[in-house]
């Protein structure tokens, strides 16, 4: 036990003395969350929109004036057919198109209700979300105003279509995404790198020739990063709760428990990488290409998995971050309990056991 503690102490010294890396590891989540915080408070102001007015009647014209008069929007272009919309989006100038159907005014007159369609470019989900919200608000204002002096209320149904990213993933995705990424970085990459560093320095040879059990060496290497990750999770959660106002709707205990599970998965992965890599560069390369890219691309954090082609959807199931991401979203944002995420938890547990077994089996008690 004393050996073990002394090893852990040594690891902490390594981390502590390499101040630059330490600050990056501890500061990165903070910076990411804060940058995102700024991105969120970006207010919508004079956003350029396009209008496809199929009615061209009094009501549609006054709705258009309403939109143009608000400080949020500025009509950039009038379109003449539905097909033009996508072309305009591709030009990138507008992010929102408002489609007013034929007989808008007469629908209102005769049936007391009409429809307006909002089409948003949701490749930037935050902006799309905000624009449609504001536009809806303006339309509702208009509806209220024209209803004012009537007995039967007018109803304008706003139908929202999000092009490119219909689920409108974004805002609240960011916090779970950062959590998954930071944990992977700290646990997988740093663990792999420090173990490989001992190999490079020749100190691993001494460790192996010492009476210390090889498994102990490996576990002792992992402990400091577990602690570091815990610090990171806390700082992310505190910041997101109090700076970004992202609520923790579910059980905090459950969230922490699931995070520790994910940390263990990441640590096992790090150990696995360390046994395969001979140099620090290789370890870093494997962690980046093998872990980060899939995490960013295939965990559902940046791009919705549902829209991916089948092969990618299948591959995404092998990315641990995907499961963790689902769990965090469910617990933190949707506030769902364990009963809804036991499947994901089971998958992560299975992954951890698998990686850990392979890593320990592959960890050599000898060289080469």
């Amino acid at each position: 036990m004393k050996q073990f503690l002394s090893f852990i102490k040594k690891e902490f010294l390594h981390i502590w003395r390499d101040k630059r890396t330490m600050f990056i590891l501890l500061g990165m989540p903070v910076v990411q969350i804060i940058i995102f915080g700024f991105a969120l408070t970006n207010e919508v102001k004079n956003s350029k929109i396009a209008i496809l007015d199929n009615a061209k009647d009094a009501a549609s014209t006054s709705l258009m004036t309403e939109l143009n008069a608000s400080r949020y929007f500025e009509i950039e272009k009038n379109l003449y057919s539905y097909n033009e919309i996508e072309a305009e989006f591709k030009k990138g100038k507008i992010k929102l198109a408002v489609v007013i159907p034929q007989q808008f005014a007469s629908d209102l007159q005769h049936f007391n209700k009409a429809q307006v369609q909002l089409i948003a470019d949701a490749s930037d989900p935050n902006t799309a979300n905000q624009l449609t919200n504001y536009a809806t608000a303006v339309i509702m204002d208009y509806q209220k105003r024209i209803t004012n002096d009537r007995k039967l209320p007018y109803t304008i149904n706003v139908e929202i279509r999000n092009l490119y990213n219909p689920q409108l993933k974004g805002a609240y995705n960011f916090v779970p995404g950062v959590m998954a990424m930071v944990l992977l970085l700290v646990c997988t990459m740093m663990t792999a790198i420090t173990i490989v560093k001992e190999k490079e320095m020749g100190t691993m040879e001494i460790m192996l020739v010492s009476p210390m059990k090889p498994q102990m060496v490996v576990i002792a290497k992992a402990v400091p990063y577990l602690v570091l990750s815990a610090v990171n999770i806390s700082s992310i959660l505190l910041l997101s709760r109090f700076v970004l106002d992202v609520p923790i709707n579910g059980s905090l205990v459950l969230l922490l428990f699931e995070s520790i599970l994910f940390i263990l998965v990441s640590l096992s992965l790090g150990l696995l990488i360390s046994s395969a890599a001979a140099s620090q560069q290789t370890a870093m390369f494997i962690s980046l290409v093998g872990m980060f890219l899939p995490t960013i691309m295939l965990s559902g954090f940046m791009f919705p998995i549902e829209n991916m082609p089948l092969p990618l959807r299948i591959v995404s199931n092998m990315v641990p971050a995907k499961w963790y991401f689902t769990i965090v979203k469910s617990v933190m944002i949707k506030g769902i309990g364990f009963h809804a995420i036991w499947k994901e938890t089971l998958v992560l547990t299975g992954m951890m056991l698998f990686f850990l077994t392979v890593a320990i089996k592959k960890f050599k008690i000898r060289l080469a």
Partner: protein, 304 residues
């Protein structure tokens, strides 16, 4: 009982075993001996040391260290040997004291427990005990590394090329330290590419491309050298070398410090040799019979 017994060790690398590192190596080290494995880079020294310290498995053959089999009883061996790998460089970001303390704990001991063993060595670096290992000079690093390898009072100490890349002064000091350790009864196996260090060992094995060329006491190796050996010198050394190389009587000639060493096929008298050399060169040539040293023996063994 021998401290180390190596029997018919073969080690190859590569998928098809195409690289042979050790070809049928056998030798024995007695307790308390300072045993030198002398050979150039690529001779197989590191592979041999790794097999003996249980870090590598041999393809075939047996090895016993301190009475334990290197394969079956590797755990026992790991408790009782000390090892300083060739590229060993300590933890650069830990101080001298932290390094030593760390290794002591890893080996289940404390600095105090075996202080008498490392006292001589450690006292030289003690004034710098708060300095980071990365900031030490080559010689001091080596002393710290040796202290770390000794901290658990190993029964057998394996030092893989401890003096490579170290200047002549530090090398001398290092060997003096080894001599004192030997007096404490520790068996030491040390490998080196420097032939001149062979003379400082009790016994040496000369090794080249995975084969042992000779095993003997250093004096014994020199005594085994039976060819007539002369040292020759002239103002134009390159010319002398090239001219004598062509002669039928010459088996070998090679630069050796300020002289060339001339190996002849047959014994002749000094006057005879002088006269014979004078025929081929106009320069004044100095000729002296010399006793071979380990390097002469190594060259001769290598060329056979």
């Amino acid at each position: 009982m021998s401290a180390v017994v190596v029997e018919n060790i073969i080690k190859t690398y590569g998928k098809k075993k195409e690289v042979t590192a050790l070809q049928d190596i056998s030798f024995e080290v007695k307790p308390g001996e300072l045993y030198g494995i002398i050979g150039p880079d690529g001779a197989g020294k590191t592979s041999l040391f790794r097999i003996l310290t249980t870090l590598l498995l041999a393809d075939s053959g047996n090895a016993i260290v301190d009475g334990f089999d290197v394969v079956k009883d590797y755990k026992e061996i790991r408790k009782r040997v000390g090892y300083m790998p060739g590229k060993f460089s300590l933890y650069q970001d830990l101080s001298v004291e932290e390094n030593l303390n760390f290794f002591a704990t890893i080996f289940n001991t404390t600095i105090q427990q075996n202080y008498d063993l490392i006292k001589d060595i450690y006292q030289q670096i003690k004034p710098f005990k708060r300095r980071k290992a990365g900031k030490l000079s080559g010689g001091m690093k080596q002393k710290l590394a040796l202290s770390c390898a000794l901290i658990h009072r190993p029964s057998v100490l394996f030092l893989d090329e401890p003096t490579t890349g170290v200047d002549a002064v530090s090398r001398k000091e290092f060997w003096e330290m080894l001599k004192r350790l030997k007096e404490q009864g520790i068996t030491i196996l040390v490998s080196t590419p420097y032939m001149d260090e062979a003379g400082l060992c009790d016994k040496v094995a000369l090794i080249q491309t995975g084969k042992i060329l000779s095993i003997n006491r250093p004096q014994g190796i020199v005594d085994d050298y039976k060819k007539p050996l002369w040292a020759v010198k002239s103002p134009n050394m390159l010319q002398l070398l090239n001219e004598l190389k062509e002669k039928n009587e010459v088996e070998d000639i090679y630069p050796f410090g300020e002289y060339h060493h001339l190996v002849l096929k047959n014994n002749i008298k000094k006057e005879e040799l002088e006269q014979w050399i004078r025929q081929s060169t106009t320069e004044t040539v100095t000729v002296e019979a010399v006793r071979p040293d380990i390097e002469d023996c190594f060259i001769s063994l290598m060329k056979n």
